[in-house]
């Protein structure tokens, strides 16, 4: 091997991302608790896995690990400060997961037990899941997709997006949009203060649905088959509907009740100063509801 080839190999090696892999016996553990201060933490459930496999960016020091009772803990210290750090942890899909990050993005995929993912500066993305999902970020976007259990999704300063959920839903933020599509639930509560709130999904006959903001649009997508009693509350805002409604009744001045179809589901639409819209949704394209989502904090491949 001549010197030129050696140099070329060294350059090539330095350009290829390297990773360190460590495996741990699962033992009696049934739950993963993991913390990463910065970068990206991805937890992957696998039905084939009977151990924990941890892949971390090359050069990243080994985390402290411990099994305590039924909990397997992976802890990266506060010396981890680079956004480029990536940690992937594969666990049995039957494990529940509790993941935290300071500035880190957190992703959880294919876990069939309760999930709690909490971060501050990063985004949270949860794909799948068959237990309760709690996803929380202060500054980043929260995205939950394909969950089959109750979902509580919260941000403070960014948007929340929910897709294809079967379970009760609470989604909140202060600054940012809240978007929910493809929801099958009898209890939905979506709210923000500054931003758009939109919902397109099932309205179960006995279900209760609440969409609320202070400023911005509140958008309810409906079809010809929708059957709901809708209460509209606004102080300085207005109502705009592009679908036929029945029994539009003004209640106590600024409040209004109206009926869609047979009026089975109960829907509250509230906006202090924004526009409340009831629009006909084309399910094939979801056109009225697709735009306007803040993708801050999500990688390009994760963006809707």
């Amino acid at each position: 091997m001549n010197a030129l080839t050696t140099v070329a190999l060294l350059v090539l090696q330095s350009a290829v991302p390297m990773a360190d892999t460590t495996s741990f016996a699962a033992g009696a553990a049934e739950k993963l608790r993991a913390h990463l201060p910065a970068g990206r933490l991805v937890i992957q459930g696998s039905s084939d896995a009977d151990s924990v496999r941890l892949i971390r960016s090359a050069g990243l020091s080994r985390p402290r690990t411990e099994t305590a009772g039924c909990v397997f803990e992976v802890f990266f210290g506060e010396d981890v400060a680079s956004d480029s750090v990536v940690v992937r942890i594969r666990v049995p899909s039957s494990w529940s997961v509790e993941a935290t990050g300071g500035a880190a993005d957190i992703g959880v995929d294919s876990v069939d037990a309760p999930i709690r993912a909490t971060t501050v500066g990063g985004a949270v993305r949860v794909n799948g899941g068959r237990g309760r999902v709690e996803a929380r970020s202060v500054e980043g976007t929260v995205l939950v997709r394909g969950a089959r259990g109750d979902v509580v999704a919260r941000s403070t300063n960014a948007g929340v997006r929910l897709e294809d959920i079967r379970g009760d839903v609470v989604a909140r933020t202060v600054n940012g949009a809240v978007t929910a599509r493809g929801i099958q639930s009898s209890s939905v509560d979506l709210s923000t203060y500054s931003g758009r709130v939109s919902y397109a999904g099932e309205l179960a006959p006995t279900g209760h649905y609440r969409l609320s903001n202070h400023t911005g649009r509140v958008v309810l997508g409906v079809t010809d088959a929708t059957s709901a009693s809708v209460t509209i509350r606004t102080v300085e805002g207005r109502l705009a509907t592009s679908v036929p409604v029945a029994d539009s009744t003004r209640v106590e001045g600024r409040y209004r009740r109206l009926r869609l179809g047979a009026g089975e589901a109960s829907v509250d639409l509230e906006s202090f100063a924004g526009t409340i819209e009831i629009v006909s949704v084309d399910w094939a394209t979801d056109r009225p509801l697709r735009d306007d989502f803040d993708t801050n904090g999500l990688s390009p491949e994760e963006r809707p």
Binding site: A34, H35, E98, G102, T118, G122, G216, Y255
Partner: protein, 195 residues
């Protein structure tokens, strides 16, 4: 929220009904969703003396307002109980970091005091003071109070004000938590495990 805010002159023209119909509609839509411009509109209205549909004469006496405050002060909606808890060592770390951000935002809003915490390579930086959640909640609170002065018995407004105040309190609690734990090192694995 839109990033492009109209100039005061244009807002004034909008207030005075001097804009072409198309511009008027555009600006109306913008003001509906932009807290900053809504504030500016209020200021302009006060300046020009054309405000307010909020008649001072119609406001209840101050003691009536105290009664409203008392009535809504202790409310607690069941739907607020589902928040993410702050237990365990790991959650404690996050709470500290969350509070640090909240504190930054708090300070940025001009409400708090103290030194600016570490910003984590700029990732914690909000896009500007106008994006501060505390400020958003304060503006919302002012709006609701204004409306309640006109209609003190409105149940929706009462509930809404209680909810908004509770949310603001939660953010402040995170701030206090951060202050309390600032000098505390994170516990190692195992010490905070729930069994």
């Amino acid at each position: 929220m839109s990033e492009d805010h109209p100039k005061s002159r244009k807002l004034a023209a909008w207030l005075d009904g001097e804009l072409p119909e198309r511009d008027r509609r555009e600006l109306t839509r913008h003001v509906e969703v932009c807290l900053r411009c809504r504030d500016e509109v209020r200021a302009l209205r006060r300046l020009s003396g054309t405000l307010d549909d909020l008649p001072e004469r119609a406001g209840p006496p101050e003691d009536a307002w105290a009664a409203v405050e008392a009535a809504i002060g202790g409310g607690s909606d069941a739907d607020e109980k589902d928040g993410v808890g702050w237990r365990s060592w790991a959650a404690g770390i996050t709470a500290t970091a969350a509070a640090a951000v909240v504190m930054w935002v708090y300070i940025g809003s001009g409400v708090g005091d103290g030194s600016t915490p570490r910003t984590g390579e700029g990732r914690f930086l909000p896009s500007g003071n106008d994006a501060s959640p505390i400020r958003t909640l304060d503006r919302a609170t002012a709006d609701i109070r204004e409306a309640l002065r006109r209609d003190p018995d409105d149940p929706y407004l009462r509930r809404y004000l209680a909810r908004t105040r509770r949310l603001r309190t939660e953010l402040e609690q995170e701030l206090r938590l951060e202050r309390a734990s600032r000098s505390t090192d994170p516990a190692p694995p195992g010490q905070g495990v729930r069994r």
